[in-house]
């Protein structure tokens, strides 16, 4: 499947396609999305009983490496991976039957609201509140940094309830959705405001589910970062072999050659970190916490560093909008913020190592 996905992206998600989709209002390529659904990418994490492939974190991470390399935009991560995982993790047979086949087919796009204005994706950051009112629940408050909410048919909103954190299915038409302009033109983010909004509670989602969902999101993002990091590095190394200055390719100059050697360590480390975190998540390994928090900051930092250095190594040409290097820098800078920041994950990593020590 990885191989087919790579070919599909090479064909339909080349640089010109990315730029076209970036410039479009929705930031989404419906044809490509359909092709991905046909390949089984969209249903990858959905259990087989709900028309999905039933694969796990390892396969997801591989797919995200390809998606990251191609700078794929759109709802793959928020809908097919995060929202689908959330519903799968719930105990809600009804929600599963209703939502999962639709998400798996790509017909329904869902997204999760799981952070507030501070953007730390932590339980304490949830600022929507929910109170029961007869048969339904009523939601109040704001959530931010939602991915692809502009396309969403379903919003899954985390909220504080009288009995702890819960999650609610919300109809986007009943919510005020404000777009958040991003420096990464491939991202479509939104902020939502709920006021007396009626919603259906998804059974069996609590604070533990929230943490599990963050783990999945982090591993998926780590895959994207590892893949993107490697691609912009490869692009740069190719350029170093062809760009001639002072009578020889600039890759022959030690200053540049040594930068590349150091960056290769970061690139390989990101790949190792993302893949081992995925494996640890899939197998519920004892060192899961260590490896997932490691992947979170190592992949974010590697991608940021490699993308930044790639512009420097290209020189003036990469200072132009038409060169792709800055698109990777923009994605790297956004990815470094999603689902929690490096410093926070370094802290978690030490805490996990302390437990292990």
């Amino acid at each position: 499947m990885r191989e087919s996905f790579r070919r599909l992206l090479a064909e339909k998600c080349a640089e010109t396609d990315i730029r076209r989709v970036m410039a479009s209002p929705g930031g989404h390529d419906a044809d490509l999305w359909q092709a991905m659904a046909n390949l089984g990418i969209v249903s990858l994490l959905v259990p087989e009983e709900f028309d999905g492939i039933g694969a796990g974190a390892v396969e997801m991470e591989e797919i995200m490496e390809e998606a990251g390399a191609a700078l794929l935009a759109g709802p793959l991560l928020p809908s097919a991976f995060i929202a689908a995982s959330l519903v799968s993790l719930s105990d809600d047979a009804d929600a599963k039957a209703r939502l999962l086949p639709a998400i798996a087919s790509g017909q329904t796009i869902a997204t999760v609201a799981f952070t507030g204005d501070t953007g730390t994706w932590s339980l304490t950051d949830i600022s929507v509140t929910a109170r029961p009112q007869g048969n339904v629940w009523v939601l109040e408050g704001e959530a931010s940094f939602l991915l692809s909410a502009n396309l969403a048919d379903v919003l899954l909103v985390f909220a504080r309830t009288p009995d702890g954190v819960g999650c609610f299915e919300v109809d986007p038409s009943k919510v005020q959705i404000s777009p958040l302009v991003s420096w990464d033109p491939s991202l479509r983010m939104s902020k939502i405001a709920l006021s007396e909004t009626q919603a259906v509670r998804i059974a069996g989602v609590d604070s533990i589910t929230f943490e599990q969902l963050i783990e999945i999101a982090v591993v998926a993002l780590a895959g994207e970062q590892a893949g993107a990091c490697r691609r912009i590095f490869d692009i740069t190394v190719e350029y170093l072999k062809t760009r001639v200055q002072f009578g020889r390719p600039i890759g022959g100059f030690q200053a540049i050659k040594h930068m590349a050697a150091d960056l290769l360590i970061e690139v390989e480390s990101a790949t190792s970190a993302a893949r081992s975190a995925a494996l640890a998540l899939a197998t519920d390994a004892p060192d899961k916490d260590v490896l997932i928090s490691l992947a979170a900051f190592a992949c974010a930092d590697a991608f940021s560093q490699v993308a930044a250095a790639s512009i420097q190594m290209h020189g003036g040409i990469a200072f132009t909008w038409e060169h792709p290097a800055h698109l990777y820098l923009r994605r790297a800078r956004a990815d470094a913020q999603l689902f929690g920041q490096s410093d926070a994950y370094r802290e978690r990593f030490v805490a996990a190592m302390e437990k292990a020590a």
């Binding site: 991003s182 420096w183 983010m189 100059f253 200053a255 040409i317 999603l338």
Partner: protein, 396 residues
């Protein structure tokens, strides 16, 4: 000498009092800026160190400083252009008399403006690898090629052009320097879209553009030397302010990591404080270095520290942007006028490359510091002694 200087100071002050209204900062005679400049040139204040027959007064450097100082005191422009005017200096030093008569007054009075046609797509760090050709055809050259990273090309009257007139000698030896009229059919200017969203620079396409033989500055083959002289004047003008001035093009020029930390609620975070300290230290240390450099130079000794400023500023600007991004957290993903702090940080993130790449990359700067300041052996240039036609810049 001190007496001479005193007398000169008096003369300048008297002249200024007669011609310049310090209150309104305008010429007493009224008129345009160019008309004021006509008076400055005529009086010999524009280029005081040049000979009297060429708009000057044959004075020494110290006297020029004195004159510039008097003009500065009353806010009058135009004095001491023998130290700052790139075009006028190049033409004066290397041009023929006809060219001097034609070009210099236009530039000294500010009636004409220029752009620099040096960089090319294939000649970035390797400035001498020029592939734009100037072919002699009777009394003029036909110029064909492409230049990049030209600022002000749309509005410029003239371009300072370096082009290749001989392809059969090593790359530094086959170049010639021209002053070309920009407004002609053979020249097309296209703005470059920068990753910052700005378009400060242009590509300039030359396709059979015409430049008369008398507009060649210096002999054929002397182009590299003429350009080096022009660059030296430019560096002098830029001085240590190079980095900061570039950074001045940021939308918000006041940097305070402390303010941002306060605004983002991170001011008491000990980890953030360490990073803020280090970034502010880099900036402060560079300022202290530049201050010391100026003091050393004021005492007459050349200061090697000055040449560190651009490289140091590059680290400062990148580090500032990185730490601002960290302080902002998730909000740094945003952009646009509604998120002006984020937009400023984003702009800084991209614009820092203007210093670390533009005007000589950090890597080139380190070469220069290593070689010219520390006296380490020069890089061997693979194409130094090869006819340009056979070098990899041409053969690929």
């Amino acid at each position: 000498m001190m007496n001479d200087a005193k007398t000169l100071g008096d003369e300048v002050r008297v002249w200024l009092a007669e011609h310049w209204d310090a209150e309104s900062r305008r010429a007493k005679s009224g008129g345009s800026l160019a008309e004021w400049m006509d008076q400055v040139v005529a009086a010999g204040w524009a280029v005081p160190s040049w000979p009297a027959e060429w708009w000057g007064r044959g004075l020494d450097k110290k006297s020029v400083s004195l004159i510039v100082n008097e003009f500065r005191k009353v806010g009058a422009p135009g004095a001491g252009q023998d130290r700052t005017n790139i075009t006028a200096n190049s033409v004066m030093q290397f041009g023929n008399d006809a060219l001097k008569q034609k070009i210099i007054p236009e530039f000294l009075t500010g009636r004409a403006s220029q752009c620099l046609l040096y960089s090319e797509p294939g000649a970035g760090s390797d400035l001498a690898a020029v592939r734009t050709r100037a072919d002699l055809q009777g009394d003029h050259y036909l110029v064909t090629g492409q230049k990049v990273w030209t600022s002000g090309a749309q509005n410029a009257d003239y371009g300072l052009l370096i082009a290749r007139t001989d392809w059969d000698v090593p790359k530094h030896e086959g170049l010639s320097f021209f002053i070309i009229e920009m407004r002609q059919p053979g020249i097309e200017v296209r703005p470059i879209n920068q990753i910052t969203g700005d378009s400060h620079f242009n590509e300039v396409f030359l396709d059979g553009a015409v430049v008369p033989v008398e507009n060649r500055v210096g002999d054929e083959g002397q182009g590299w030397k003429v350009m080096q002289t022009a660059l030296a004047v430019e560096r002098l003008v830029m001085g240590d302010g190079a980095g900061e001035r570039r950074q001045g093009s940021s939308k918000n020029n006041v940097v305070s990591l402390i303010d941002i930390a306060r605004e983002t609620g991170k001011i008491n975070d000990p980890v953030a404080r360490q990073e803020i300290a280090q970034a502010m230290a880099y900036r402060k240390l560079n300022a202290l270095n530049m201050l010391r450099a100026k003091q050393e130079m004021a005492q007459g000794s050349a200061s090697p520290i000055m040449s560190l400023g651009k490289l140091a500023m590059s680290r400062i600007l990148h580090e500032d942007a990185r730490i601002m991004t960290k302080l902002m957290g998730a909000a740094s993903m945003l952009d646009g006028p509604e998120h002006s702090l984020a937009a400023d940080v984003n702009y800084r993130t991209a614009n820092a490359y203007m210093t670390s790449i533009g005007g000589g990359t950090d890597q080139i700067q380190r070469n220069i510091i290593g070689e010219r300041v520390l006296g380490l052996p020069r890089e061997t240039e693979a194409d130094r002694n090869v006819p340009f036609r056979e070098s990899r810049a041409v053969t690929g």
